[in-house]
Each structure stands twice: as C-alpha cells, then as structure tokens.
Symmetry: C2
Subunit: 239 residues, 2 copies
C-alpha cells in the first residue's frame, strides 16, 4: 500500500522535506492534495484532519496504513529506517532525529524572517519588521546554524561527506533543501559566504546529482520556489 | 548511574519540561549547572558541548550513560518509556511525540511574543514589535493551540483527563507547565478564558497535586518564573 502524503498544494513548504525523502528512496506514495477526484484534493485533507482520532495540529501529515503521523521530524523518524534513509540503532536514531529537530528550529526562524509579527498577516503588512528580523537573522542566526551543520559533517569522520553514517539519510536531504532554499531567498549572502561552508556545498551537489533526486527535481512533481512558501525571495530584505 | 541534566541555571526555560518529567518520575538526576565543584557549573556544560562527538546545537541536553541527547522532545521521547511517563508501543509513542513536538512549536511562538525581532536583542529594544506580535498571538494562536490540546484530552476517550493513555505522561507534565507559564505571563487573558479550557484546567490541577510534583514545586529545586525565561510577565504586552 503506497504512503499518502498530505500537504498544502502549490508550495514546497514543510511538506517538501518529506516529499524529498519519499522521492530519493523511490518509495511509492500518493501526493493527495495535488490530485483530483474522490478522496483527493485539499478537501480530503481537511476532512481527514477533522475525522482523525489522533488529530494533527497542522499539515504535513503522512498516512501509512492505519497510522496518521504529523510533524515533519516525526514523519522522517518513522520513514527513515523503513525506506533506507535512516539508521536503525537507537543511539544513531536519536542523533539523526536530534539533527532533524534542529532543522525544524532553523526552518521556523527562516519562516519568521518574512513573518515576524503574525502568520495571519500578509508580508506587506510587516515589511519593516521583516527587514529588521532578516538583518539579525543573516548576521547572527544563519552563520550559527550553517556553521553547526558544517561541523556535523566534519565530525562525522568516516561519513564521506554525509551528516550521519556513511550513506544518504533524510538529514542529508534536508541539508540539500535548506541550502537550495537559502540560495533562492538570500542569493547574495549565500554566494558571498559559500567558501565558509564547503562541506554543505559539496553535500548539496552530491544530493542534487543523486539519480532519484535529479529525476524528481526535473519533473513536474517538484514545485518551484515561490513567495507563498517558507523560502521567499524579497530582495529588499537582503540589503 | 543518575541522569545528568544540562541547562542554563537561573531560568526554567526549555529545560523545565525535562526537569518536570525527571521529578514526577522520582528519577535520580544531577542538575549539573546548578551545582558547583569539579565537573559542575555552566563551564562544565559548555566544555561538554564543545567536546561532544555528537555536539548539541543548544541546551538543554541529557547525559544518560554514554549518550548525550539534545532537543526537549527527543529527550522526553527517550526518557518516557524508561521512567514510566510514556507509552511503549510504536503507534502510541509516535502520537505522544507528535504532541510534544506541537508543544515545541507553541513554546517557540510564546518565546517570540517578547522577542519578535531577535533573541540577541533585549526585550526593551523590540517592545513595540513585541506588543504587535503578542496581540496577534493572544487573539489567534493561543486559542488555536489551547483549543487543540483541549480536544486532544476530550478525544482520549478512556483517558480519565489525560492527554494520552490512562496515566500520567510527559505530555501531561508539559500541559501543566504551559498552563502555569501562560497564567504567569498573561494572567488576565488566561483568567478570562478559563471556562473555554475546562479539561486543561483540570489536568493542570491534577498534575499540581501529584505527590512528586507537589513536593518538587514546593522545593528550592523549582526555579521561580522570571523575566529571563520563556514565559515573561510584561503587563504592557497583554493590553
């Protein structure tokens, strides 16, 4: 039975971290809200959320048989060992998950650069505050997170450039997504600082040229970055 | 061997969600930075972070034998079944963890009410923006999260007022901490809306009167809420 992924159509958003894992693994899945017909579409997602005995707070969520699992890091923790993208031993699983939760924190901070006051307001209604928050983000938070992940790759001695273990994991895929998104949102900053993060750049390249990932990125299944998602390119924020 | 908890001394902060679980379970633990002497204090924490093969991004972290585990929800997921505060079956573990990750998101939003622009600035430097963010938080986000957790308790049919299962879990303890903190930070709002969340109020009371928790709260081990932590009482923000 294929996995069912539920997320808002039209944006990569948080769902993309799960979609990338499913694609890289060549797992069978249905991208429910991007299809139409009976049991498909956004309505189906909202109905399932309402009806679920264990209600998710928000998309994305994954249906795996009878299980409904929400929260990106939780979904990846579940999927990882099943689709060959995460370790099986407890110590390694905890560490891999810990890194993914740090990705979650980073994504939250990236999102709030353009929405520092309220998610329910338009960006245009909080532009001045977004400029202030982005300034601090680019000078203090971005280097702190990227420097950390750069060290993680470095410290993974036998890891051949991977974040954990010796082969591709869901955390590597999330690194790819972070670097891609940050390059889209803050092209000048990321280009200027590229030499500070050689391992992250190399990992980004390695993931991009993985056969399954490359095929996915070239397909229509990959939604383009846009200004409704987590990573938004507002040039006025980067100045 | 006792667990070792590492967190900033002087604030409850994110560490308190772990401390509450250790205390409620009557687990043996050392609160490392609140002690002095060899291998104790903040210096010991920073040294361990630097030296760790698997470096935590930030405190809190737990040392359990040779394992160093960071990220509150990850620590609780590990501790839960070991100290009798979390389920053992996979489906129940995923659901419990999913709720804890929703707590993490909520805590992040609570923190940002007083720090919408940058964690590295003082509150006083972002007071106007904090007022704007808090206004939106109190009218839209707070009721969304509390309404959600209220339904979780309601939907846990045989749960006797617990969030998951039939007995005390680490998520119940986090609910206690959230309600306590929100009442401290936003007393007027929480008092006015109390009748909207009867199950959360009852759970808060149930946890507060648990023998181990009550003893802990009355002890000097419980740090008082203050204006350096996640939950801060700035009366000008609640208006």
């Amino acid at each position: 039975m294929p996995y069912e992924l539920y997320y808002w159509p039209g944006i990569q958003g948080r769902g993309e971290f799960v979609r990338l894992a499913l694609e890289a693994a060549g797992a069978e899945y249905i991208d429910v809200t991007r299809l139409s017909g009976r049991g498909k579409g956004v309505d189906a997602m909202l109905r399932l959320m309402d009806a679920a005995e264990r209600e998710p707070f928000a998309p994305p969520f994954l249906k795996a048989g009878k299980l409904i699992i929400a929260q990106v890091a939780n979904i990846l923790q579940y999927l990882g060992p099943r689709i060959g993208l995460g370790p099986k031993s407890e110590a390694a699983r905890l560490w891999t998950h810990q890194l993914q939760l740090t990705v979650t924190d980073f994504v939250h901070e990236i999102h709030d650069t353009h929405h520092p006051i309220a998610s329910s307001l338009y960006y245009e209604e909080q532009k001045d505050e977004a400029r202030a928050r982005t300034g601090h983000f680019l000078t203090t938070r971005l280097p702190k997170y990227l420097g950390y992940f750069e060290r993680v790759i470095e410290n993974n001695g036998t890891g051949r450039g991977h974040t954990v273990g010796r082969s591709l994991s869901y955390v590597d895929l999330s690194m790819f997504q972070l670097i891609s998104g940050l390059r889209y949102a803050f092209p000048k900053t990321m280009s200027r600082r590229k030499r500070n993060y050689p391992r992250l750049s190399a990992l980004h390249e390695k993931v991009a040229t993985n056969a399954n990932v490359a095929a996915y990125l070239a397909s229509e299944r990959r939604i383009a970055f846009n200004e409704d998602g987590v990573f938004r390119c507002y040039t006025e924020l980067e100045r």
